[in-house]
């Protein structure tokens, strides 16, 4: 205890000795963080593209989807985790439902912006060339909406990585568990390392998505 107190009085922001002996712990947390994020993004994308296409067709559905997910997006993540615990318990599902819901709002909105912006002339030309509705959607409309969808994916990626840190409070891993460790043990190193890694992960993931956009949509440079 005395040693602990003595250490606290000189606790540096990063204790390199601790870090060098705890690399597996840090990498494990980073891996869990990436996994939680990837599930939330992939599922969000799988739901949002068809939902966005459907909402683009029907004005009523558009209002309903934007209204519902808009309200959902307003609710803080910790509140949603807390509300879900009695039903889905301290599990990955409890963490993913809010994360996916937030991503659906961001992505559906960008699918709609992208589809809305497809010029009437282009659609007429596609119809004139004999495209049926489904091939027209898949080969003309969605490719033209891709830059907007990628822009949404970048925002969703960076936001999700930040919010995943909060899932540690419901007992899931990820970098948030190191922040929590720093808080509970009053020890700076895991806290600072996890915060820096979370920011770095967000920036790297943002660059990766921007790179993917360059490959997928070479005609529209990401900003």
């Amino acid at each position: 205890m005395t040693a602990r107190l003595f250490l606290e009085s000189v606790d540096p922001w990063i204790n390199w000795d601790w870090l060098s002996t705890h690399i597996p712990l840090v990498l494990g947390a980073l891996g869990e963080h990436v996994e939680l994020t990837a599930i939330a993004l992939a599922t969000g994308l799988v739901i949002s593209v068809p939902l966005g296409v459907a909402a683009h067709r029907s004005g009523g559905l558009r209002l309903a989807v934007l209204g519902f997910f808009g309200a959902f997006y307003t609710i803080p993540s910790l509140a949603l985790f807390a509300l879900l615990i009695p039903f889905t318990h301290l599990s990955g599902t409890t963490a993913e439902i809010p994360l996916i819901g937030y991503n659906v709002l961001i992505l559906v909105r960008n699918v709609l912006v992208g589809l809305d912006a497809v010029p009437r002339d282009v659609l007429d030309a596609a119809d004139g060339m004999g495209y049926r509705p489904l091939p027209r959607l898949l080969r003309v409309e969605l490719p033209l909406a891709l830059p907007s969808i990628f822009a949404g994916l970048r925002v969703a990626t960076v936001s999700t990585i930040g919010i995943v840190t909060i899932t540690a409070l419901i007992g899931l891993g990820g970098l948030g568990s190191l922040i929590d460790k720093g808080l509970v043990e009053n020890f700076h190193t895991p806290l600072v390392v996890a915060t820096i890694l979370s920011i770095a992960l967000a920036l790297v993931a943002d660059l990766l998505v921007a790179g993917a956009q360059r490959v997928a949509v070479p005609w529209a440079r990401p900003v």
């Binding site: 309200a71 997006y73 307003t74 609710i75 803080p76 993540s77 910790l78 509140a79 949603l80 985790f81 807390a82 509300l83 615990i85 009695p86 039903f87 937030y102 961001i106 909105r109 912006v113 925002v155 960076v158 936001s159 990585i161 930040g162 919010i163 840190t165 909060i166 540690a168 409070l169 419901i170 970098l175 948030g176 922040i179 720093g182 808080l183 009053n186 700076h188 806290l191 600072v192 996890a194 915060t195 979370s198 920011i199 967000a202 920036l203 943002d206």
Partner: protein
């Protein structure tokens, strides 16, 4: 009794409506922390964003500050502020203010940039001085998007203030954090309902304020603010 019934009973229990851990006291703490942070943030962010937008300088900075802000984990920043400044409201307000600034800077920058150059020129031709031009011509046109930024910030600050309970702060997050610690999930869910209601009320009341602030003619001009406002969620 089913779970929702238990949560309702908790919320309706008169014992939870009095004292320093009562709902009114926690609500006042939550609004106090959030309001203070949003006001300080606005005092910093709005003049900065408006000036950058008016002069059209440092656009990359004004736009990217929101992206950088999204990348900062709110939980980490709160705990770091707690480690630096110790117990009390100071670390909470500082961390919340830091999170409140980015969307307000970005949106006010974009709002001022979007003012039609013809309108600026007409104002100058009519003899408006620079300050009068900003205050009486550009700002009224920019209000919808600026207010969207204030609303986004306020909702995020209210959301993040929930985490303040983790660093021994007050606010409605207390019920969630204490409930989790004692596995009293009824209390946790009751706190979550209160927090969610406060976040939605913040969003709705600021939409009302926005409606009041925007001149009617301009309301007709630019309807789809939501599509142009920056998306920002950190908690």
């Amino acid at each position: 009794m089913d779970f929702l019934g238990l949560v309702w009973r908790w919320l309706a229990d008169p014992a939870h409506w009095q004292g320093s851990d009562g709902i009114p006291a926690r609500l006042v703490e939550h609004i106090h922390l959030s309001g203070e942070s949003v006001l300080i943030g606005a005092a910093i962010a709005l003049p900065a964003g408006i000036a950058l937008g008016h002069y059209g300088r440092f656009g990359a900075l004004a736009i990217n500050i929101s992206n950088a802000g999204r990348a900062v984990p709110s939980f980490g920043i709160l705990v770091i502020a707690f480690q630096v400044f110790g117990l009390g409201d100071l670390p909470i307000v500082l961390a919340l203010t830091a999170l409140a600034v980015p969307p307000m800077v970005t949106n006010s920058y974009v709002a001022l940039r979007e003012v039609d150059p013809d309108i600026r020129e007409a104002a100058r031709g009519m003899g408006y001085r620079e300050l009068a031009q900003v205050l009486r011509v550009e700002l009224p046109l920019a209000v919808p998007l600026i207010m969207a930024g204030v609303r986004t910030s306020a909702v995020q600050v209210v959301a993040t203030a929930t985490l303040a309970a983790l660093i021994a702060g007050g606010g409605l997050g207390r019920y969630i954090v204490d409930g989790l610690a004692t596995q009293d999930y009824v209390k946790t869910a009751a706190g979550a309902v209160l927090v969610a209601a406060l976040a939605l009320a913040t969003e709705l009341s600021l939409s009302g304020v926005q409606r009041l602030l925007v001149p009617r003619g301009i309301r007709l001009l630019n309807a789809p603010v939501a599509a142009r406002a920056t998306t920002f969620k950190v908690a």
